[in-house]
């Protein structure tokens, strides 16, 4: 059996599959990818089921090698810097990693999450039916924690891939994220109409203190019409809570399963990944859409994922010295999105 060997991994690099579903009623959050579209696309490109287990790469970066045999890999890491044995590769790439070769993924100027899928199956024992990692409760993934140097991930049914690196042609690699679509509610009645308008218009600035649990927004605080406490109820991924300080919090993959603040709106599924990819300091506004429009957007996304991922040959470029310097693990981290 081939092995994917973790040579180095920054904080926040985890295994994620499509999520741990069916246990929300017991307080178990689904976890799963921060950018579900990019995660599914990487799996598609690797020839795996869309919800297969892949590595979610944070801005902390990762360095991997192969042992026991070549591994076919597909990497989608928008905005990240990628190198195979020091030679720069595209941010969206399929390749065969031979034993002895080293693939490095480092944070670039943009983007918070990349996805590395192995052609085959990462053979890690599931917990409650899933390999998704929820680090706050030490659940799932690799011993319930983020990946670290020295970890070795067995690959079952591995396929070596095409050999030379190919650029993956993924039209949604660069998505417009300045406008995030939301469906109002479920507690939009806790806000007067002028505050709903203020929420939509923003602009809001993504705070650098976000993580897999939540994206915090800075801006002009919103006022509540009916207080800021509700009796706790369930929260969906993308639910936007407004706590007492009036600053919206977008709840993400590792959110708590319930919450006690009014939720003014919910980010539609196809835009979850867009907001997840934003680094601290980025500005955004919200756009109100109907449930029907949200469903239509989801259908477009599903249909797109049914298509094979096109690929084109990569012309190897010489590496620049500043890039090599950037391979220093800590030096590669430029922002605290992870």
């Amino acid at each position: 059996m081939s092995i994917l060997a973790i040579e180095a991994a920054g904080p926040g690099v985890t295994l994620q599959d499509g999520g741990r579903h069916g246990y929300l009623r017991f307080g178990i959050t689904a976890a799963g990818p921060m950018d579900p579209l990019m995660h599914a696309s990487a799996n598609r490109a690797a020839g795996n089921p869309l919800d297969a287990t892949a590595i979610e790469v944070s801005t902390g970066g990762i360095t991997v090698g192969a042992a026991g045999g070549p591994l076919g890999l597909a990497l989608l890491a928008p905005g990240f810097r990628v190198a195979l044995d020091g030679a720069a590769l595209p941010e969206a790439v399929a390749l065969t990693l031979e034993p002895g070769q080293i693939l490095a993924v480092r944070a670039g100027d943009a983007g918070s999450w990349g996805y590395l899928a192995v052609s085959g199956r990462l053979d890690v024992a599931p917990v409650l039916g899933s390999n998704a990692t929820h680090t706050r409760s030490a659940l799932g993934g690799f011993d319930g924690r983020g990946l670290a140097a020295g970890d070795r991930l067995p690959v079952a049914d591995g396929r070596a891939g095409d050999g030379a690196p190919h650029r993956l042609v993924v039209p949604w690699l660069a998505r417009d994220a300045r406008t995030i679509r939301v469906v109002p509610g479920p507690q939009d009645d806790y806000f007067a109409p002028d505050q709903i308008a203020a929420f939509l218009d923003g602009p809001w600035t993504v705070s650098p203190r976000g993580d897999r649990m939540a994206c915090f927004l800075d801006g002009e605080p919103l006022k509540h019409a009916r207080g800021h406490d509700i009796v706790s109820d369930g929260v969906a991924m993308g639910a936007i809570q407004v706590p007492g300080n009036g600053l919206p919090i977008v709840l993400m993959a590792d959110r708590q399963s319930t919450g006690g603040y009014p939720k003014i709106a919910t980010v539609i599924g196809p835009d979850i990944g867009r907001i997840a990819q934003l680094r601290g300091g980025t500005s955004l506004t919200f756009q109100k859409v109907t449930v029907a429009e949200a469903v239509a957007a989801r259908r477009i996304e599903r249909d797109a994922l049914r298509e094979p991922v096109a690929r084109e040959p990569v012309v190897r470029t010489d590496f620049a010295s500043d890039f090599l310097l950037g391979l220093n693990l800590v030096g590669g981290v430029t922002d605290g999105a992870g």
Binding site: H21, G22, Y23, L24, R25, F26, G27, I28, T29, V127, L128, H134, R136, S137, A138, L139, G185, P186, I230, V231, S232, D233, G234, A236, Q256, S257, T258, V291, A294, V295, R298, R299, R302
Partner: protein
């Protein structure tokens, strides 16, 4: 989100759970998760498989018919050790409530609790039925992580919490029963709507029961709840 009210009320919770039961008894393709809370039932569904209007129509018809729970809830008796080192915060609660530590224990162990919901963290069960004299507010800032299977109170509610987390609640004791064990089948045995009583045990008994639970035995006892 199917909302039945805005308060913590056993009657509202019964309606939530009645709808939850009814949807569970006749599953709809595309309905992925049902999350009962104090006052609402959250439904996660795949809108490309299950049309929103179809789901809403089914919910309306079931909610109209299902006003009481079909199943009789279970009464669980959980051993609970209030002694050192488990009852970490009993003295603080006693001071704030103006009771003796023994009175805190006897009051807490004398009540029957209703499991309203799980939330916050894996296996964190919110319990109603706490005596008013123990309704101390939650802490202003969280205390260090509570131990596994902590029995806690705060803000007028009781809780059993399986996964250690920093908390604003007060730790009164610990139960050797694991409400949540991911490797066990079933991983959870106490459902929303069930009832819980705590049975005081000393530290030596707690240790013995913990060993039995770890060996795969269930140390929680089940009975039939009073409606």
């Amino acid at each position: 989100m199917v909302e039945f009210g805005t308060t913590v009320d056993p009657a509202i919770s019964d309606r939530v759970l009645a709808l939850d039961d009814a949807l569970g008894a006749a599953p709809l393709t595309g309905l992925l998760e049902r999350v009962p809370t104090y006052r609402s039932l959250m439904l996660h569904y795949d809108p490309l498989v299950l049309d929103r209007e179809t789901l809403a129509a089914r919910v309306r018809s079931l909610a109209a018919g299902a006003t009481a729970r079909a199943a009789t809830p279970t009464l669980w008796t959980l051993p609970c050790c209030y002694d050192a080192p488990h009852g970490e915060d009993i003295v603080q609660v006693a001071d704030r409530a103006g009771l003796s530590p023994d009175a805190v224990v006897s009051t807490h162990a004398g009540a029957t609790y209703r499991v309203y919901m799980y939330g916050f963290a894996p296996g964190f069960a919110y319990l109603g039925g706490l005596a008013d004299v123990l309704a101390v507010p939650r802490r202003q800032s969280p205390r260090p992580p509570h131990p596994r299977n902590a029995v806690m109170i705060g803000g007028g509610l009781a809780a059993v919490a399986t996964v250690p987390m920093p908390t604003g609640w007060y730790v009164l004791g610990a139960t050797p029963a694991r409400l949540y064990a991911p490797e066990r089948d079933p991983s959870f045995f106490v459902g929303a709507g069930d009832q819980i009583r705590f049975e005081p045990v000393d530290a030596a008994t707690f240790d013995a029961l913990t060993a039995r639970e770890a060996a795969g035995e269930a140390v929680a006892r089940r009975g039939e709840a009073r409606r």
